[in-house]
Symmetry: C2
Subunit: 384 residues, 2 copies
């Protein structure tokens, strides 16, 4: 086990009906809030009007940032920062999925800074302060509600980069499964895939002697697989809850402890793909992650045999054979769930020029652990 | 899954050599510290002189509280509070096992309070503030380094009670496996048992549909069982590390999420036993925990069958049969490790009068979930 720091101060408020606590929790951190709203059906479902009433009842005045898109854009971040600075807002509250929460995180950092917020994403500067952040997670997927990670797309430069600042841990996150039950099937499947990918990224790199960390990562993946019936029973709040808690645990830091390595290879490649082609993150991962694993399996088949046995009960003749069978089983799950598993299905071109553009982007991503263009080309070739 | 709050802001600094960070981490919280020292071989091993030098080098002035015993005593707490108040100390640093850390937690609460610190343990008052606490964990066992729990023995009244205040989360805890390698075999075995018990207490009560939480609890237990070779290889730092991280995860709140129940039945009975007979906590648990589980198994055999299969791969003819086989396997492990598994081995009397005294104590423990004396008598009967 390699040395590590683990620190995660987010207060998780979990359970049916906990949305009602939004006002009281927010008021602990400020009386003037920016409410960051995701695009999509939440407005129609009355979620935002409930949020506004809960905040008002707790004496919190609210300005809103409307229409934050999937793959949240730098322009939304800049707009939110302006609202905070001009109105001296004290707390940023996101209501939505990972996109709204990530947008709130970037705004929270930018609002107390004089410079350009994109500097934080290109690695020019680190953030040591931020406005306090609260979140209401309406979709189990990115785990942004319990992580310090923040991913923003610079739409002008077609770059999708991440930051990892401790000040970006939400002070509180409400995970109320009742808010998840209207998530459409495709987005639910994307969330299942995203959760598995988070737990499965660092699992395959770094130190191997990490039994406690492995068990948590495997627990996340097994919980997702054992609750995928949520696709057929979208209003089953128990299944929603089980996925939601796995999604939060899957990227709250616990699945990385002791590995001595931190980079999300499949995410790096998916970010480069979706920066250009604006695909749903979870759908992009369903294509890229199994291909990335197949590449890694060639480097360390024993690790994949371990994975295949723990997750799918597969024991093969050789480690490589068992490992590849495990990856195939994962990919088959994604296809079963109705997710694309090839770039063609994702409507992403598969010509060499596109691949080279994506590979070049991966190498300049300041967050990337991939150091050789050939690796990306190899992986993309497996995605065709 | 039942609603829950999860909040754990302790910064864990984990790995060989991380002890060196004690000074810099402490200095973030104050320049005048109380150093809480456990009884035992740490002084001889030079751990305290290293701690003192690390703190001095970081500009932290130190007063020491010496000789905190296992089952830390209220008199030590009172002495520490006096030192803090008279010298306006700003931060409390524990170096030792769970006893030193628990003592530091009680001191931290009492030092900023005008009243009697024992009131917090009898449930008369709740603590909303405390001095900041730092910890160096020298023994993997109680998980005090990453929990809000604090157990103190009132030696005059022969009561051993617990508090659970958020202000008692250590600000930071250093878990340096190098400091664990001299822990004697018996205490190491006690720590293995304590870790399993923590993960296994609430596992058997409350809501059953908690798959993510179950996987973490099972992961803790499996990690301990798969690394018990540490008893034969005490200087194997990988085994020490694996146990140490499992010990912290086992009681940091994650193994309780969604159960909607929180009480530690085996701990309640063990606390009453050790308040009278001052037995090592882990040894007391090795006797009481399997008996407590056998009692619970009669109420809900299906849950125990699930446990037996996940942990020991046992599948039985009936749930009860499989469940009892799982409990027997656990008890056999404890015996293998050289721990006592009966009250006789523990040198605790087994007459009716003693049992009734222990049972009466359990019922008045403000932290107890056991509401009927008969239950305690049933469990103690199984410990003979």
């Amino acid at each position: 086990m390699k040395p590590f720091d683990f620190y995660n101060p987010t207060r998780i408020i979990f359970g049916n009906g906990t949305f009602a606590r939004l006002g009281a929790e927010t008021a602990k951190y400020g009386k003037k809030a920016l409410l960051v709203k995701a695009q999509g059906p939440l407005e129609k479902m009355g979620v935002y009007s409930r949020a506004a009433k809960l905040l008002a009842d707790a004496g919190v005045r609210v300005l809103s940032l409307e229409g934050v898109s999937a793959n949240p854009k730098l322009s939304s971040v800049r707009e939110g920062i302006k609202l905070c600075q001009q109105n001296k807002l004290e707390v940023v509250v996101a209501v939505g999925g990972g996109s709204a929460i990530d947008c709130a995180k970037a705004i929270a950092v930018g609002a107390v800074d004089e410079g350009d917020v994109w500097d934080f994403f290109t690695g020019k500067r680190a953030a040591g302060k931020a406005l306090p952040i609260g979140a209401v997670s309406t979709l189990a997927a990115t785990g942004a509600e319990m992580s310090l990670h923040c991913v923003i797309t610079n739409e002008a430069e077609k770059k999708k980069y991440a930051t990892h600042f401790e000040v970006n841990y939400p002070r509180f996150s409400i995970i109320d499964p009742e808010l998840h039950k209207s998530v459409p099937r495709f987005l639910t499947a994307c969330g299942l895939c995203d959760t598995i990918t988070h737990a499965g990224e660092n699992y395959f790199i770094g130190d191997r002697n990490t039994p406690m960390t492995d068990r948590i990562a495997e627990g996340v993946i097994l919980t997702v697989l054992e609750n995928d019936r949520v696709l057929e029973e979208p209003e089953n709040l128990e299944l929603r809850a089980n996925h939601a808690w796995a999604a939060a645990i899957g990227i709250n830091g616990l699945t990385d402890c002791g590995r001595g390595a931190f980079y999300y290879g499949a995410h790096t490649i998916e970010h480069a793909v979706s920066a250009h082609f604006d695909v749903a993150h979870g759908a992009g991962l369903a294509v890229v992650h199994p291909a990335w694993l197949a590449y890694l399996c060639e480097q360390d088949p024993a690790r994949f045999a371990h994975f295949a046995e723990r997750i799918f009960g597969i024991k093969g003749k050789s480690a490589r054979e068992a490992g590849l069978a495990g990856i195939a089983a994962l990919k088959a799950k994604y296809a079963d769930w109705g997710l694309p598993v090839t770039l063609k299905e994702l409507k992403v071109p598969t010509d060499q020029a596109t691949f080279e553009k994506i590979a070049a982007d991966c190498l300049v991503d300041p967050d990337s652990g991939i150091k050789d263009q050939k690796i990306v080309l190899d992986v993309l070739g497996r995605c065709r």
